[in-house]
Structure formats: C-alpha cells, structure tokens
Amino acid sequence: MTKTQESDPKYRLKLFIAGNEPNSIQAINNIREILDSRIKDRYKLEVVDILSDFQSAIDHGVLVTPMLIIVEPSPETTIVGTLSDVDKVKAALRL
C-alpha cells in the first residue's frame, strides 16, 4: 500500500442501511455531505440495503444499522449510527 501524500488516496466505503428507516436516510445524507464537501469525485460509496440483501449483512457482521465501513484507506474502520458527528467521521476518514 503506497502512502504518497501527493497522489490522492482512493476512498472506498460501504454503507449498510435498513430500507428507508429514518436513521438510514440520515446517514446517507450525512456521509454524502461530508464526502462531497471534501473529496468530491475521489470516493466510491456503496449503499447496501440489508433488508433485501441479508447475506451481505451476515458476511460483514452488520448487526446494527446504519453502519459505515471504511474499506480504504486501510485499516478498515467501522462507524455505526447516523454519522451526525461530523468531526468523528472526518477523523475516521483522516480528512
């Protein structure tokens, strides 16, 4: 894994939500806002609805929703909740 400061690191994220429950909607909005304001076009966010895909919930151990897994940059970090604490999320993303 290269750690060059200049070249932009790839941001790969997975957000697990449960249908359209309010927490999940909030989380989608919150993460989009943070990412778009700081690293627009440099991230890849995959939103997984566990209500229609429970197998990926099993595979990733998603017990609570919403749950954000920051796959890259590594190490993999997990944040649960509506992601309303912007500073905490930014710190986890190392932004």
């Binding site: 927490n23 909030q26 151990g61 944040i79 649960v80 909740g81 999320v89």
Partner: protein
C-alpha cells in the same frame, strides 16, 4: 411434537426442550412463540442450555438459529462437540445456524442506530431455513452497546415484539451476578419475558453444586422449587426430586445372595428390587459378600453395575480372586460394569448423573454401592443423604436391586449401621463383625432385618475360604455365639463346669455348718467368762464388807464413830 399440549385444551402451547428433567418442571416445555430468559452467573451453563435446546429441536426436525455475542462460532461448535452435539452436521442439513455476532470494540459510534441489521439477518435466515426457534446468547452484550438504560429497555421491547410478531420461540440468556448494580440493571428483562429460568452455581464445602429455578411462567404452572442440575458430557440434566412421586413397586421375588446357607438365614435370599445393606467394620468381608452376590447374579445372566468409591476396578477384581470369586468372565460378557471414582472428584449431582447415565445405558438388574461411608466425602452429610435417597429412589422406580455397603464402628444398631438416616429405605440389613475368642479372630454375621421374609436372628460364624463365603452351624450356649476352635472346646468345658459348680455348693454348705458350730462355741466361751467375772466381783465385794466391818469395830473402840459414818455409807452405796 411442537405446540402440543399434553393435558388441557386451553393450556399454553409449549415446546419441549428435551433437556433431561426440565420439561417435567416446566410442565411440558418453554412457551411456544414467546420469549424465555435464562439468567445466571458465569459457568452456569446458559450457553449449553441454549445450544442443547436448539440441537434437540434440530434432531427432531425443528431448525434453529443460535446468535452468539460472546464466543466465536467456531468455539461454540467445538464446545458443543464435547457434549456429542455435531452442530456442523446440523448446519449442513440447514437445521441449525450458528451466527457469530461479535461487535468490534473498535467500532465508532456516531449518532443513533437500530438493531435492524440483526433482525434482517435473522429474518432472512429464518425464512430460508423455515425456522421459528432462536437463541440469543447473551442479550445483555447486545443491549450494552447502547449504554443507556432507557434505550436498552425500549430496544429489548422492540426485540421481544419483533420475535413474537414473527411467531418465533426465543431463548435469551443474560448474565446475572451477586453484584446488585448488574442484577437491577437487567431486572426489567424478567418482567418483560414470559418465562424466566435462573441458573445458579454455588460452592458448598468446597464442592460446587448447581441449582435451577423457574421464577416465572406466564399462563402456566411450573415446579417452583430449586432443583439440582448437572452439566455432564451429555448436556444439562435436572433431577426434579420433588416431582418424583413414590412410584415404587412392591418387592420382587427372593433371589439368591450367592450363598445357600445365607439364603436360608435370610428366609430365601435378597428380594429383587429391594435395598440391601451390608454393614460392618473394615475387613469384615463386606466386599466379598457383595461380590458373592454379583458372581451368582452374573452367572444367572443378570446385569450388575458396581459403583465404587473406595477401590479401583483392577483392585477389586484381583482381591476377589483369593476367595475364589472370578469376576473377569462377567466383565468380559459386559454383565458387570464398574463405575469407579473418588467421591471428592465432583459434586454429588455429577456423581448421580454419571450413575443414572450408566444405568440408562446398561439397564442393570442390580447395583452395588461401595460404600455409603465414602459418600460424605462428596461434600456434607446432607449432600450424601440426597445422593443416596435419589439413587435409591431411582433404583426402586426402575426395579433395580441396590446393595449398599457401609463401613461402621462395632455397633449393631440398624440406625447407626445404615448411617445417613436411610434405615427406613433398607429392606434387608446384614451386619458383619469380627470377634476375638481364645486368640483367634473370627467373622460373624447377623441378619438385622429381612423385610417380608422370616429370617434367623442368630449370630453366625462365617469364613472366607478359597471357595468363597462359608457359613457355620449356629451354636447357642453360655456367653452368646461361639466361633472357631473355642466352639469345639466349649461342650467339654460345659460338663466340667457343671461338676465344679455342684462341688462348690457342697463345700459352701459345709463351711456354713462349721461357722454355725463355731458361733455356738464362742457364745458358750463368752458366757463362761461373764460368769467368771461375776464370781470374782462377788468375792471382792465380800472381802470389802469384811474389811469395813473390821474397821468399824476398831473405830468404835477408839470412840470416833460419828466421823466415819458418812464415809462408810458412801462406800457401801457405791458397791
């Protein structure tokens, strides 16, 4: 099997757990489509309870999901395998699903969240497996994520509601401890659940014992006592002693004790399905007596289980060769089984379950317990008493003859020789003792009790020969029962004694006559002495008178009559 109510049409639908003894206490099983809480401290067997419930269900074709928050799924499967439950196989058949729900402690929390992930997984899996049974181990770990008492309460309510709306039968385990903070924190679970079972492990006299208690069961009656349970290599087993009625059958036919003469003394032998107590001091031949019976029972094709707390199987087999009892063929033909262990090795419940399990595997006709006196080492006298009563009860209910050995002090009181106050359960009691006569130590046998049979109540001498136990003829004479060489000498001695006694009576009678004569002689001698003294006194008095008369005459001659008159009078008065 499922949703079946045994007695009442209106009764709550229940699901049998198939955990030994538990369904009796729960009057059928846990409530169907409802939530059951299992609480207990560490090491109580909460997880085993959950796994056993699901595994037993899976074996009967009911799939189940096991959600583990504490242990890794691999560890759960491995632990289950030690009980002989192959979860892997069940998972392959889609009858079970072990879900590892580890919450990474490094997980960050930012804002509110819900348990939808868990529900989605369970719902998805349950649908694909067509499953309605779920175990959550442990719910407190899941709830603690919120770290907010009110939130924990409402999330639990959502969970509870979610399960019941989907007609799922759930078991949730929760840790409880003596610590009051913890206990009260999850107390609300007990209020919300439909059935609450407490598991408890305590240490008494350095030996741990486990107790189970159902504290709540909505819409159903249940056994309200605290019941001992064990975790054996076959899972959880509960012994509901209080639900066991006295379903004893009457005593069976007499069966041979292995010794013809003993049979005749007992009035036919031991009774089948009875309780026989062989008590005696150490070395009196208790084990030999028991093995005499074992040998004859096995020769008849019957099965015996030997529960030994004192000697190893090898030691017993070897020792019994000297009185000519060869147990090896019986062991080879699997008619005789040994279950030996040190009493201290485990708690009394575990000892009991080992015995019960062995009995249900072997189906013995008879058991031998060697010895009652060692049972106290399982803990306290009370523990030993419970162990014995439950063992005896089990034997009586299953028509198993119970031979109990007990090492005692030299006492023939049945309450003392049985020890543990079990004398009322004893049908036949033999006392073996040793007595020393004329430098010889001899073995003695006394039948103290032989219920329902006419028996001899005389002391018998017996010998342990290379052909086993040999009983002698009874001899009743002076000084109680006689044994050994002394018995042979006795008769000769008796007639000599008789002659000696007659002679001594004669001698005494003569002596008495002599004494009588001597008395008469002494009386005569004394009388003559008295007479002699009297004569002497008379003589003295006469002399005195003569002396005074002489003086008066002399005084008158001297003219002094007046003065001497008084003196004279006093002398005469004194005489």
């Amino acid at each position: 099997m499922e949703n079946e109510s045994k007695t009442d049409k209106s009764a709550l639908p229940k699901i049998p757990t198939y955990i030994a003894g538990l369904d009796d206490i729960l009057h059928g099983g846990i409530p169907s489509n409802r939530t059951t809480i299992i609480s207990g401290g560490p090491g109580c067997g909460k997880s085993i309870f959950g796994i056993e419930f699901l595994y037993n269900g899976a074996k009967n074709g009911h799939p189940g999901i096991y959600v583990t928050f504490e242990e890794r799924a691999d560890a759960v499967r491995q632990n289950a395998l030690t009980m002989g439950w192959n979860l892997d196989e069940m998972e392959k058949q889609n009858l079970m699903f072990v879900m590892q729900a580890n919450l990474d402690p490094k997980t960050l929390i930012s804002g509110d969240f819900s348990l939808m992930g868990l529900f989605a997984i369970i719902e998805g899996k349950a649908k694909s497996m067509n499953c309605t049974r779920i175990v959550v181990d442990a719910i407190d770990i899941l709830l603690r994520m919120y770290n907010d008492f009110n939130r924990e309460r409402s999330e639990y309510y959502i969970l509870h509601d979610w399960f019941s709306s989907r007609k799922m039968t759930s078991i949730m385990t929760v840790k409880s401890s003596q610590d009051h903070g913890m206990a009260s924190r999850y107390e609300f679970l007990d209020f919300m659940a439909d059935c609450v079972i407490h598991l408890d492990q305590r240490v008494r006299e350095q030996i741990s014992t486990r107790r189970i208690r159902v504290t709540k069961y909505r819409g159903s009656d249940f056994g309200r006592n605290e019941y001992p349970y064990v975790i054996s290599d076959k899972g959880l087993s509960i012994i509901p002693i209080s639900t066991t009625g006295l379903r004893h059958r009457p005593l069976g036919d007499p069966i041979s004790s292995g010794n013809e003469r003993l049979d005749s003394i007992l009035g036919g032998g031991y009774r089948r399905a009875s309780c026989v107590l062989i008590a005696g001091i150490t070395g009196a031949g208790k084990t030999t007596m028991a093995n005499t019976f074992i040998k004859s029972a096995c020769d008849r094709g019957e099965k015996v289980l030997y529960i030994g707390f004192e000697e190893s199987e090898e030691a017993i087999v070897t020792n019994m060769l000297s009185p000519g009892i060869d147990l090896r063929p019986a062991i080879e033909s699997k008619r005789l089984r040994f279950l030996t262990s040190l009493p201290e090795a485990m708690g009394s419940e575990e000892h009991l379950m080992r015995a019960f399990n062995q009995m249900s595997d072997d189906k013995p006709d008879h058991i031998v317990l060697d010895a009652i006196s060692a049972c106290e080492r399982m803990g306290s006298t009370r523990t030993a008493f419970e162990y014995l009563i439950r063992l005896l009860n089990h034997c009586k209910e299953n028509d198993i003859t119970c031979i109990l050995l007990n090492q005692t002090v030299e006492s023939m009181d049945i309450h003392q020789i049985s020890g543990m106050e079990i004398s009322s359960m004893v049908d036949t009691a033999l006392f073996l003792g040793m007595t020393e006569v004329g430098g010889e130590v001899n073995r003695m046998l006394l039948v103290l009790k032989s219920r329902g049979l006419a028996h001899s109540n005389q002391f018998r001498e017996f010998r342990i020969t290379s052909n086993g136990v040999e009983l002698m003829d009874v001899y009743v004479g002076e000084g109680g029962v006689l044994t050994g060489a002394a018995r042979q000498e006795q008769e000769a001695k008796e007639s000599a004694n008789q002659r000696m006694r007659e002679h001594r009576i004669l001698q005494k009678r003569q002596e008495l006559n002599h004494k009588e004569a001597a008395k008469q002689a002494k009386i005569a001698a004394l009388q003559s002495e008295i007479d002699m003294f009297k004569t002497e006194l008379d003589t003295l008095m006469e002399e005195e008178k003569i002396w005074h008369d002489g003086r008066d005459i002399r005084a008158r001659l001297r003219g002094k009559i007046k003065d001497d008159n008084t003196l004279n009078k006093s002398i005469l008065g004194n005489i």
